[in-house]
Amino acid sequence: MSDYNFAYLDEQTKRMIRRAILKGLAIPGYQVPFASREMPMPYGWGTGGVQVSAAILTPDDCMKVIDQGADDTTNAVSIRKFFERTAGIETTTRTSEADVIQTRHRIPEEPLTEDQILVYQVPIPEPLRFLEPRETETRKMHALEEYGLMHVKLFEDIARHGAITTSYAYPVRAEGRYVMDPSPIPKFDNPKLSMAAIQIFGAGREQRIYALPPHCEVVSLDFEDHPFDPSKAPHPCGLCGAETSYLDEVIIDDVGGRLFVCSDTDYCETRRAEGHRGDDQVSETAA
């Protein structure tokens, strides 16, 4: 423990990141540049999220890390271990017990409270990036609220596929001002972005931090005649029987057997401990 400063980063760096976070919270959805540090893990493994977590952790915090909703994937396990070692904090897999939750791809099913902070690992913070490659131009577009282009992307979806097929990283508008990319969460989670907990988004490679304060108004962009639809697979969870949670499709054999299970492992386990059971059946088998 004494080999490292608390939570790995030096105090000056944490101070710099906290300033960026405060600015981000003051301007919901605005991408605040920050001097991202090298972290002992590759870009794409959550360097942005790790730096944000390191800057906000206190010694009494309890941390949870999820990757695609699961607590037991390589990425989640190694980041949890990283903070156990460098900050000496407690970690947990229970959503309700955690003070800080670092996540990639999902918002936990269980509603978060105002005592909690949700930290996202963001790969590409700029929602306009794939339409307008110039950073100088996208910054101007944000500054001048020129967001017509975002709808061109959704327009293209409908023109080509008949419906808005953007199913993750679905653009939202925060407090009627900044259009932001809510990290690669499924659009099923978009309605949950207006929540009681603070949400902080960290992009390490792109050197941007942005944030949503509690109970912030977050609206998913759409067309009047093609309204936003937070879709999910039309099945109950095969293990716990939950009807309303976001599901992963698991291939279980080589003859087309499939099982739909909650992507939030903690939610699924909690429900099973309470006695809920799914039909545990392969929902469809190829003939």
Binding site: V152, F155, D225
Partner: protein, 254 residues
């Protein structure tokens, strides 16, 4: 006749070199102004200055804005200028790929200015995109195709549709028929003439092709070395050129 654009003493220098100097003209509603000259004479510099792509070294460009009447485009704030460039002004590039989003379908290209203006109804945006494709003689069933699958002439027509969809009053055109073969040029010119007449558009057309000017424009400026050497009604200038350079240009038409 209402004044739409009034340019006074517009000057642009590239260091010690002159881009264009002391250019003045007035443009009225529904009028087409042609700018001709040999290459390097400052035609495109002038056009880019007018459209706000280049900073200038002097002069005023008064535009008749809808809200506030005549206003200098050069001293306008950037949000205002960009707003104007999205609504009341349009720019047709010589190369269609500069003016189109090549990764976006034709419908999306045409609809972009509408969506930038706040249109949020897919059905209506698509309907006006199809309507405009029809006006520039592109078949309705190509609406979902990307411009990469279009021929050069079609790309140019698509660019024109994309620029005119939200009813701008002023359109800048930089060699709109350059790089197209003669039969396609002729059709495009017919189309442009029809659109300008029907929509009561004003345009500034830059070209080195005198036949394009004769067909399209009402008035004409001849430029040489960054200066306007002769200006007047198109037929008058082309039939009775006064300046030696204009005489040279007219006599060298094949």
């Amino acid at each position: 006749m209402t004044l739409l654009l009034s340019v006074q003493g517009l000057t642009k220098r590239y260091g010690a070199r002159i881009g264009c100097t002391n250019v003045s003209f007035d443009l009225y509603r529904g009028e087409v102004m042609g700018v001709v000259g040999e290459s390097g004479s400052g035609k495109s510099t002038l056009l880019n200055c007018l459209a706000g792509y280049l900073s200038t070294d002097g002069g005023t460009v008064l535009f008749d804005t809808r809200a506030e009447g005549l206003k200098d485009m050069l001293t306008m704030s950037e949000p205002e200028r960009r707003q104007l460039a999205r609504t009341d002004c349009a720019f047709v590039h010589q190369h269609a790929r500069d003016g189109l989003r090549m990764g976006v379908s034709a419908g999306g290209n045409v609809g972009e200015r509408l969506m930038a203006g706040g249109a949020r109804h897919y059905g209506q945006i698509r309907a006006s995109a199809i309507d405009w494709l029809g006006r520039v003689e592109i078949d309705e069933n190509r609406v979902n195709d990307r411009p990469t699958t279009y021929s050069g002439g079609m790309q140019q027509r698509l660019q024109i549709a994309r620029n005119l969809v939200n009813g701008p009053r002023l359109i800048f055109m930089d060699e709109p028929t350059g790089g197209l073969d003669v039969s396609v040029q002729a059709r495009l010119l017919d189309l442009l003439r029809k659109l300008v007449r029907d929509l009561h558009l004003s345009a500034v057309v830059v070209t080195h092709d005198l036949s394009v000017i004769r067909l399209l424009s009402d008035r004409l400026m001849v430029m040489k070395s960054g200066e306007v050497v002769e200006a007047g009604l198109t037929d008058q200038v082309l039939d009775d050129p006064q300046h030696p350079h204009t005489q040279l240009l007219v006599s060298s038409v094949l």
